[in-house]
Symmetry: C2
Subunit: 554 residues, 2 copies
């Protein structure tokens, strides 16, 4: 049985899910991945990998091994070193592997890729620990985001690619009546992959943000080079290793997908970008480098970016003030604001808002929100789990610097004790009030646990400012609380015009930070927060070219 036959049902179900947009999660459970033994086995595997050289990759002859990952929970190095290769060697191997991979049918490619996700699943617990101790995410988020949710997004990319690559017939007989005779041609169409694909990872979501581009490029026939963030390698290294093993088992060149580890001191992303054979670039990270990458498009490279955004929340009215504040407080606190979807700017009218319990003044609303944030931060059980740890010192420093220059701090940022990891780098949210007129204070992304409450004249001004900021600086998410259905529709329409997705009146355990595969197009690709979306048709179609051939039929 071919791998396609083995996984056909999964692939076709995922294609259907893509079309119907109604699935919440797709990747089927299995006992090995989720069984009783799995948690302990995963922890053990992670622990034994520490202070060793990562030897699972099938890439030959590294020039040396190096690694610089530091656990945000332990604040000590993981001691894992990865094989390092010269960028020219990596590109040359990729080119060689390309010749093989582009000839493989889409069915075979899909089978191999889904098989690799199957193998990845067996290591979800190990990947979770690896993610926790590189990104600073809580264990729960590490498991979900780097495990099943990442696999979902990878599968979604495979499914979208599969659908697009098979949407036109491979060939047809074209028959044109000319009066007394017909012209008959056999026409064929091939989706031709563009070339070497470079996927540049980030330090906070090393698999979730990497696998969509990786699998989208692979399903469309392109070889992939993954350049992880040097501080968050292990989670994606495991994924690449599993894929390489599947490739090798099927007598394919494992260099079809390579890991290219660099260091903070000697970054190599630009070397790859400059290489003429590198045609596709996926990137998650800061806007400065992202904008530079986008400019490479004039050299004929396709660039897919997810950059910084300034995510707004507009508070107009609510049926449940407490539920609203609890929900928003959680969104602000989750992984200490280190999600690209975390809200930053909260627009509250100076005149207060209508609630089910009657009118609440501005101060009452702010007080309720601050109190809810404080409640999570100070909750001895909930706080450490929700806030998790800061990935790096730069974020900790940013919080301090912003606090120092703040005009009005409503809630100071503190470290909290994580009893499991007493050395964890933690910070509770800093909440500040800024005036609507002081745009410089809130127009930029302040990555980390920082929330700004912006006092506006009214909701009209709130929406106006949210639009103004996001149309210039972009946004990946936007929350609106409003009980007036007509006004909601109007705001949805106005934000859609600048390509910002809105979540309305979220309460309970669903948050505007969460973007799900098979239903949410993560990042619209239409505003300054990024030029691409997980996983719309463009996300795969830009990776290959339809080329037709024509042959006469006798």
């Amino acid at each position: 049985m071919s791998l396609f036959e083995k996984h056909q049902e999964t692939i076709l179900r995922a294609v259907k899910a893509n079309k119907e947009r109604g699935f919440y999660a797709h990747y089927p459970e299995n006992p090995k991945a989720y069984g009783e033994e799995a948690p302990a086995a995963g922890l053990h595997a992670f622990q034994v990998s520490m202070n060793t050289d990562f030897s699972e990759l099938l890439q030959q002859q590294p020039i040396r091994f190096e690694g610089e990952e530091v656990s945000p929970y332990l604040q000590t190095g993981l001691g894992i070193r990865y094989p390092v290769f010269a960028d020219k060697v990596v590109v040359a191997r990729s080119k060689e592997a390309f010749a093989e991979w582009r000839k493989i049918s889409v069915q075979e490619r899909a089978g191999i890729l889904v098989e690799s996700l199957d193998r990845m699943r067996n290591r979800f617990f190990e990947i979770a620990h690896a993610t926790q101790h590189t990104t600073g995410q809580s264990f729960m988020m590490s498991f979900q985001a780097s495990g099943p949710h990442a696999a979902d997004r990878a599968l979604e990319a495979v499914a979208m690619g599969f659908e697009e690559l098979t949407r036109f017939p491979a060939e047809t007989i074209w028959d044109k009546p000319m009066g007394k005779f017909n012209i008959t041609l056999r026409k064929t169409w091939k989706p031709v992959p563009k070339g070497i694909s470079l996927v540049i990872g980030c330090s906070t979501f090393p698999t979730w943000n990497t696998v969509p581009g990786m699998y989208a490029s692979l399903i469309t026939g392109n070889p992939v080079i993954i350049k992880p963030h040097p501080k968050a390698v292990l989670p994606i290294a495991i994924v690449v290793a599993e894929l390489q093993k599947v490739l090798a088992e099927h007598h394919l060149n494992p260099n079809i997908c390579q890991l290219a580890v660099d260091s903070t001191k000697f970054p190599i992303a630009k070397e790859f970008v400059h290489h003429p054979d590198v045609k596709l670039i996926d990137y998650t990270g800061n806007s400065v480098f992202g904008n530079w990458l986008e400019a490479q498009q004039i050299l004929g490279k396709e660039v897919f970016t997810e950059k910084a955004g300034v995510n707004p929340v507009v508070i107009d009215s609510t049926n449940d003030l407490k539920a609203m504040c609890d929900n928003l407080a959680f969104s602000v606190s989750l992984y200490a604001g280190q999600m690209c979807t975390a809200p930053q700017n909260f627009f509250v009218p100076a005149t207060g808002i209508q609630t089910a319990e009657g009118h609440k003044t501005y101060d009452e609303v702010v007080e309720a929100l601050v109190s809810a944030i404080k409640g999570i931060a100070e909750h001895p059980k909930m706080g450490p789990g929700v806030l998790a740890a800061l990935q790096n010192d730069a974020t900790a420093d940013r919080v301090k610097a912003v606090a120092a220059s703040a005009k009005k701090v409503l809630l100071g940022s503190n470290s909290i004790l994580n009893e499991e990891f007493t050395e964890a780098r933690t910070a509770t949210p800093l909440v500040m009030e800024v005036d609507a007129a002081d745009k410089a204070a809130y127009e930029k992304e302040l990555f980390g646990p920082i929330a700004l409450i912006i006092k506006t004249a009214d909701t009209k001004m709130s929406v106006q400012l949210a639009k103004e900021l996001t149309s210039v600086h972009g946004a990946i998410s936007c929350g609106v609380y409003c009980t007036d259905t007509a006004l909601c529709e109007q705001i949805a329409d106005e934000m859609a015009e600048i390509f910002v997705p809105v979540s309305f009146n979220l309460t309970g355990p669903i948050y505007l930070n969460q973007h799900a595969a098979f239903s949410d197009f993560h990042v619209t690709g239409g505003n300054a927060a990024g030029n691409a979306s997980f996983t719309d048709p463009n996300y795969v179609n830009r990776r290959f070219v339809w080329v037709g051939q024509r042959y006469p039929v006798q």
Copy 2:
């Protein structure tokens, strides 16, 4: 009955044709368009439009009227003047119309657009004369290319847009089991149009090359500004006027699609390009301006180009030398090489080729090809009809300049008499021999009736050179004559790798110049000849953004 209901069958059939790629022509005939009266009525309509101000557009308050079209057949001005508007006024009106158009459902938009094609059909004969006397095409080509074939390509863009815009549900209930309860959200997705679309026309195919971008932008909800080539306005002016009338009849702002005529002396394309509200740019024309336009992508504009290419023909072997030469001679001669798909570089091995009648030397092959080209040029009936007229003096001058600097002319270019239009600007093909080593002589597009025969060592070298040139300079078409099936496959694969479509062994009345709607992706978009294709999914998907909204369900 809504226009969607009226045209539903046509739209859905076109969607199906797009998927199946097996239709040769789509737009249904009707008696009014093709009836006995139609030819005379069309000629009359064209004749009365000469020396008048074009008054059919519904755009108000022009600042003046001007026009500079010159018939390549009469070599006198047509005397038609078009309303001229300030670019800022055009953009402001487009923005105003956008607010209306983006709210119209895709069904209504599709209905209106197909209705406009229905009206255009009634004027095919008039458009044919307008095309002939602006582009220099023969009447037959003018009719086909600017009439039914253009309408086909427009309909294809509408169909592809319709399919993409309706491929995801407008909304769904997303239900996630959480154990003891479910999270239930209503999720909606809207395809949001990107903004004002600028379509820059060319002088040789004023409707065929304009309507795909125009209709692709319109179906996806974007307002359109058409900036025609100042020397070829009338054909597209008629199309725009018909669309504006349909819009007005349905109480919609006719400025949803505007014609913005400029002059050779005061070009305004760049003014539009620089305007921040212009988000989409379609362009057919020279590579210098096309490359500049593509660079505007770093400002967040989507740019769709069709530029110059160097189209190769590789001659390896043939079953029918005469049929091959007749076919190629026709391709070279058709509209005097002024098609973007016309072949230019003919690679012939110095060792000769195998044919059904045995081995033919290089000289015999060249002689046969030159003789076939000469045969068409000197044929008193066929010559003028096939060669038609040169659109402008620059092309005539180019032929002379290239001939003057040629090392070895195999067939000189001459004017020929067109008995119907004795003043026609005509030129027969210039055929030259160049050595394979003299790349400078053949690496650029020599637009017009110019064919180069390049003597190579063997087919391997021919393919190598064809690849080398097209990978740098691009190609829109490529012809290969080869009786070895395995070698054909290999060449197809090698050319596909650089995104060049190949037509094999064409003989009889089908030519590599011809690209048909619903089956040929015209320009692959993968090489230097252009970054977009008529009409693959990217062609419409890059014109809008999917934006999702989420609402809790109680």
